[in-house]
């Protein structure tokens, strides 16, 4: 799979990676988390078409915490469309280990560069500043 190119030196702006559900589907949980955090630590914004499972969200918080360091990386800002309107997963699905991730568009960015201005069930409005 081809990797995304990086901006040339001197180019100004904020890069946004829109990652399809198909691309994430082929990755392990840790590969997904690494992909997200490597981009965010470079100052990029990541938009996931399919979101993460609850277990992956839990691990994302845990790994983010281990990487925070003074004057370098202060963590992530993350927003996801609410999923309360979606049907609840049944007991059988949970027993079989299936976790609901569909239709959970998620925006993740560096905490010092992205600020959520507004969120409701069909709109996420964010302010992104340059480094």
């Amino acid at each position: 799979m081809p990797e995304a190119t990086t901006p040339e030196d001197g180019e100004d702006g904020v890069r946004i990676d829109l990652i399809s559900g198909a691309r994430m589907e082929g990755l392990t949980s840790m590969e997904k988390i690494r992909l997200i955090l490597d981009s965010v630590r470079d100052g990029d914004i990541v938009v996931l078409e399919a979101g993460l499972s609850p277990e992956e969200e839990s691990k994302l918080i845990e790994v983010t915490m281990t990487e925070i360091s003074p004057d370098d990386f202060s963590g992530i800002e993350i927003e996801t469309y609410p999923t309360s309107g979606q049907p609840n997963q049944g007991l059988v699905g949970r027993l079989l280990g299936k976790e609901e991730t569909a239709n959970k568009l998620t925006v993740i960015g560096p905490a010092n560069q992205i600020e959520t201005l507004h969120k409701d069930e069909d709109l996420i409005s964010a302010l992104v500043s340059r480094k």
Binding site: E55, S58, I61, M65, G97
Partner: protein, 213 residues
């Protein structure tokens, strides 16, 4: 992970819970920073054991490592439940030491505090997946509950099939709005209380006995 492995793990988890009734249940107190988790943990521990769990403060991340109070025996309506209370650091996705400088702290102390806080949150997240039998989720009823961290945490707890009680804390304050919390998480029961003033603690203990007994 294969389908059969998942099924076997799920059945093991369920049977472990069914046959572990003699052991105290480990109840994690989770929630965002400054929701009053330690104040509640101290209130419960003092009421039933006479000892506190840890220091309280208005500065975020006062609790930076999880603290455990073991064998807290709560009796309500003829039902007795023994729990280990695990007071956890406030869960967040970001910690910036500069925020602590506003609380008259030197940079060195602020950096140390933020480092301890991040370790504590990572530990709390790990425990949530591996080491708790139930969750008390504490929210500050004077603030908007519909944050991403709250939504994610409640989703994570639900995905673990853990019993969860939502406590709307700080109802002694004029700005408290319990209905807002009720509306944000309608799939769970919300219990209003003031851990600081001790308001509505009878219902709190009734619900703990009912949910975790």
């Amino acid at each position: 992970m294969g389908l059969l492995t998942n099924l076997r793990d799920s059945i093991t988890r369920v049977t472990d819970r069914l046959f572990a009734d003699d052991e105290p249940k480990r109840i994690g107190i989770y929630g965002p920073p400054n929701a009053g988790k330690t104040t509640l943990a101290n209130r419960i521990a003092r009421d039933w054991t006479g000892d506190a769990v840890g220091p309280e403060s208005h500065i975020p991340h006062e609790t930076r490592r999880a603290r455990r109070k073991e064998n807290v025996e709560i009796e309500r309506n003829g039902k007795t439940v023994t729990i280990d209370i695990v007071d956890t650091p406030g869960v967040t996705t970001k910690v910036d030491y500069k925020e602590f400088l506003d609380h008259d702290m030197e940079k060195e102390d602020a950096v140390k505090r933020s480092r301890e806080a991040t370790e504590g949150v990572a530990e709390a997240m790990h425990w949530l997946r591996e080491d708790v039998d139930g969750v008390i989720y504490v929210l500050d009823s004077t603030t908007d509950p519909f944050t991403q961290v709250n939504t994610m945490l409640i989703g994570i707890i639900e995905s673990q099939d853990l019993p969860v009680l939502i406590f709307a804390n700080k109802v002694d304050l004029d700005e408290a709005d319990v209905k807002r919390i009720d509306d944000a998480f309608p799939q769970h029961e919300t219990v209003p209380l003031s851990a600081l003033e001790g308001d509505n603690m009878d219902e709190v203990y009734e619900k703990i006995a009912e949910y975790f007994g």
